[in-house]
């Protein structure tokens, strides 16, 4: 039943893509059929995943495939279901959103048929990755996903910046794939590539396989310093695609890492340390880089790096819990990391849709050109604020719950110290400190982003003339914002869902946890939800009290930050750069900001100019030198690639003669 539903879902995507590709000349039909097939493809998969999580248990099916060592094995267990649900729900909502978002492109006479064909392939590829039970099938899904998303990023390929971003993404994703290929070659040494027969060769160092998995899947997930493609590709893609890529596609990296670490067996402690260190680094570097950005979508892309870091902290604590023998830390770490996967999918796609709506209505992504949009786009503004609070981990929204679980995992490590392991306390301290720093900086960053974009007065005519987006774009955002609140309030209900998933992961690592730990976690979630409900109630009562006090009184309105000036102007407002400047300056060792400042000179200065930009340190200092070195090394081969046909013939003839003489 469940495999049949999955197959139906994948086949719907696979079959509709070529049909859509053929509708190039009929954009009207494509723009209707595209979202319809995307949503129709998602529904059976969502049903299958919900049935699995509701207690149907793992199921799988196999069909033969004529490809050597390939097999059409698909299956769904708790872990797959947990990743498939956000993948499919976000894909469906982003498809509805993109229908509205692409009207602009359609009005310019561009056909959206290719977009929808690639979109269906992307959704199908992601589903296949989460349900494949054969390494070759997994790779097929992985590559379909990578190529489809590359082509979607290139949707606006007439812009050279978009083309550059697309190529960076393509190179990055294939470096990752190369590592995954190596991993599969090692694990499949026995000849079969079915997941349940994959195993390390005897006496093979598991560390090499771990590094391959970490780099291969970490590139997709976006761990620092493998993250450089995210801040390039996510802003360049159409916003609905950014929502899918940033919200759920990068999570397939987390899924792959977990799935294959389980195959590699009991983790040594250093795997956990590597993940924890990568998590803290990604989190801090991600959020600081985000803080220094002016481009709203680039800012959100760096926040994806940050949130992947938070997830990695959770998983790192989980692995350390297993290898150090602290079951509570293992359970809570995995629970927090996995719940954050779901939560981040919800609020990050919401935020990208919000940013996309702003972009669609104002035509700019530059934060410093916006302002005052909360009066002009109230629904978008409210949704974006919900997402901002959720991503900062503030109650009563969902981000709070998952970060709380990771904090609890860190505390479990700290409190286990006295009895047994000092390493646990080190990990706990590292995670606690890292999370606290990340949380504080994220709050500063979203105060900046939300405040500059939606509050105050419009800084440019584009922002002043913005209107609310239409229903097809609004509805997905409202659904996601509601989901943020519902998950945040439904803490006790989340535990029975996430608990079995974590149990299956722990069982995969050969570790069992007493039910007491799960009970404690449930208690913490319940308390958090009660607190969240109390906060909501408090906020509502304060609002009611305000209305009651103001009733029957005269109120007057004035421009925001007017400050009693005779003629306040929008340029008096704080800009995003000036808001972030003290914090970015404080962390100058991690983010390098470039300033260009032409100082006013003379008694009557004619023109002055000030601007800042923040290039990615890793791209500038790590990848550019490495890739230029490669280019220099390989440019030596241009000597033999000179374009003279007759000398090419000579090469061939010489090679043939050499072979002849060798065998003579």
């Amino acid at each position: 039943m469940i495999p049949a539903l999955l197959a139906l879902s994948i086949l719907t995507f696979a079959a509709s893509a070529p049909v859509l590709a053929m509708l190039r000349r009929n954009p009207r039909a494509a723009s209707r059929l595209g979202p319809a097939t995307a949503v129709a493809g998602c529904i059976p998969g969502i049903v299958a995943a919900i049935l699995t999580l509701a207690g149907a248990g793992p199921a799988s099916a196999t069909a033969s495939w004529s490809v050597p060592s390939g097999g059409l094995s698909i299956g769904m267990d708790a872990l797959s279901a947990l990743f498939a649900i956000p993948v499919l729900i976000v894909s469906a909502l982003a498809a509805i959103y993109s229908r509205g978002y692409l009207r602009h492109a359609e009005s310019e006479g561009r056909s959206t048929a290719p977009f929808w064909a690639w979109y269906d392939l992307l959704a199908g590829g992601m589903l296949l990755v989460t349900v494949a039970r054969n390494a070759l099938l997994f790779l097929l899904g992985w590559e379909v996903m990578a190529l489809a998303s590359f082509l979607l990023v290139m949707f606006d390929a007439h812009d050279p910046r978009v083309r550059r971003a697309g190529w960076i993404y393509l190179v990055a994703t294939h470096i990752g794939t190369a590592c995954i290929l190596g991993l599969f070659a090692i694990l499949g040494h026995a000849g079969s590539l079915e997941f349940d027969r994959l195993a390390l060769p005897a006496a093979f160092p598991a560390g090499i396989a771990f590094v391959l998995a970490f780099v291969g899947f970490g590139t997709k997930a976006g761990f620092v310093p493998l993250h450089v493609w995210l801040p390039e590709a996510h802003p360049a893609a159409p916003s609905g695609v950014s929502a899918v890529m940033s919200g759920v596609m990068i999570k397939t990296g987390i899924y792959g890492l977990l799935r294959f670490l389980m195959i590699l067996g009991t983790p040594p402690a250093w795997w956990g340390w590597v993940l924890l260190a990568a998590g803290v680094t990604s989190g801090v570097v991600g959020v600081l880089s985000a803080l220094a950005q002016h481009d709203l979508k680039r800012l959100l892309a760096y926040h994806s790096v940050e949130n992947i870091g938070i997830i990695a902290i959770g998983l790192g604590l989980g692995l350390l819990g297993i290898s150090l023998g602290i079951p509570a830390m293992a359970f809570l770490g995995f629970a927090g990391g996995l719940l954050h996967v779901v939560n981040h999918a919800v609020f990050k796609s919401l935020l990208f849709m919000g940013a996309g709506s702003v972009l669609e209505r104002t035509g700019t992504r530059d934060i410093d050109h916006l302002g005052g949009l909360s009066k002009r786009m109230p629904a978008t503004s409210l949704c974006f604020m919900t997402g901002s609070m959720a991503i900062c981990g503030l109650p009563p929204f969902n981000g709070f719950l998952s970060e709380l679980l990771i904090y609890l995992a860190a505390f479990a490590g700290l409190s286990a110290t006295a009895a047994r392991v000092p390493a646990g306390s080190t990990a706990g301290l590292l995670a606690t400190g890292g999370l606290a720093l990340i949380g504080g900086l994220a709050l500063a960053c979203f105060t900046k982003a939300f405040g500059t974009v939606f509050l105050g007065e419009p800084r440019t005519p584009h922002a002043a003339g913005a209107r609310e987006v239409d229903a097809s774009m609004r509805t997905p955002m409202i659904i996601l914002a509601a989901a943020c609140l519902c998950i945040g309030l439904a803490g006790p209900a989340a535990a029975p869902v996430i608990g079995p998933v974590v149990d299956s992961v722990l069982a995969g690592f050969g570790c069992t946890v007493s039910t007491g730990t799960a009970h404690d976690a449930l208690g913490a979630l319940s308390a958090a939800s009660v607190a969240s409900a109390a906060i909501l109630l408090l906020a509502a009562s304060v609002f009611a009290a305000r209305s009651a006090i103001l009733r029957n009184r005269r109120t007057s309105t004035a421009p925001t930050w007017g400050c009693g000036f005779a003629s306040p102007a929008p340029s008096m407002q704080y800009t995003a750069s000036s808001f972030a400047d003290p914090i970015v300056g404080l962390f100058g060792a991690i983010v390098r900001r470039r300033r260009r400042f032409e100082e006013p000179a003379g008694l009557f200065p004619a023109s002055t100019e000030f601007s800042t930009d923040t290039p990615d340190v890793y791209q500038e200092k790590l990848y550019k030198p490495v890739f230029s070195a490669f280019e220099r090394a390989f440019s030596g081969f241009r000597v033999i690639q000179h374009g003279r046909l007759n000398l090419y013939v000579l090469y061939i003839a010489a090679a043939l003669f050499a072979l002849l003489l060798w065998k003579l």
Partner: protein
């Protein structure tokens, strides 16, 4: 019969040297045509008593194509492209002749080393075929104009043809037709390519095409 065969073979070797040493494209085309006619006559000479209608038809087809159709096409390409009538070699004529001599020596040495099971009436058929192949490759590599490279390809094919005659003896009809067909298409395509290159760039100097590389 052997005497006649040997005469043809020696004439083939001599035609190689003419191709290597002549400086005018039109004389090269004529020599290649003559070489093609002699190659076409080879099966008639080797067949001896077993001469059949099939072998005669095949020989005549080869003679017709290599002796008359290809030279005609090449001459036309040469005329229409209004190019230089010079061969314009990368390697000079004297070194080319020396290389031809070396190739001939290498062919005889190679024949001795390989000890192929030949069915041929003449002992020098295999070395001659090697020498034709080497000369063809040399012309492909060492000459500048596209017409000359086509000629090199034809000489190379003559060598392959002679070699298959020596080793297989009874060439399957279809295989031979296939080879001829390939040749025909190759010359046709090259003729068109030469014409196109000429009309785009005002020359058919394949060396100068290297400016097109990325």
């Amino acid at each position: 019969m052997t005497a006649m065969l040997d005469t043809v073979l020696v004439a083939l070797i001599l035609s190689n040297f003419v191709l290597l040493g002549s400086s005018r494209l039109s004389s090269c085309i004529r020599t290649a045509a003559l070489q093609g006619i002699m190659a076409g006559l080879l099966p008639l000479a080797t067949a001896g008593a077993g001469l059949s209608l099939r072998i005669v038809a095949l020989g005549l087809a080869v003679v017709a194509l290599k002796g008359f159709v290809f030279p005609h096409l090449l001459n036309r390409a040469l005329r229409e492209s209004a190019t230089s009538r010079e061969v314009q070699p990368f390697v000079g004529y004297t070194p080319s002749l020396l290389a031809g001599l070396l190739a001939l020596a290498a062919s005889f040495w190679l024949d001795g080393r390989l000890a192929l099971p030949t069915h041929s009436a003449s002992s020098i058929l295999v070395p001659v075929s090697f020498s034709l192949m080497f000369t063809g490759i040399f012309l492909l590599v060492a000459r500048r104009t596209a017409v000359n490279q086509v000629l090199g390809y034809i000489v190379l094919e003559n060598g392959i043809y002679a070699f298959s005659l020596a080793v297989v003896r009874d060439i399957p009809f279809l295989v031979e037709l296939g080879v001829l067909m390939d040749m025909f298409v190759a010359v046709f395509v090259m003729g068109i390519a030469i014409y196109r290159i000429n009309s785009e760039f005002d020359h058919i100097d394949s060396d100068r095409l290297s400016t097109l590389k990325g």
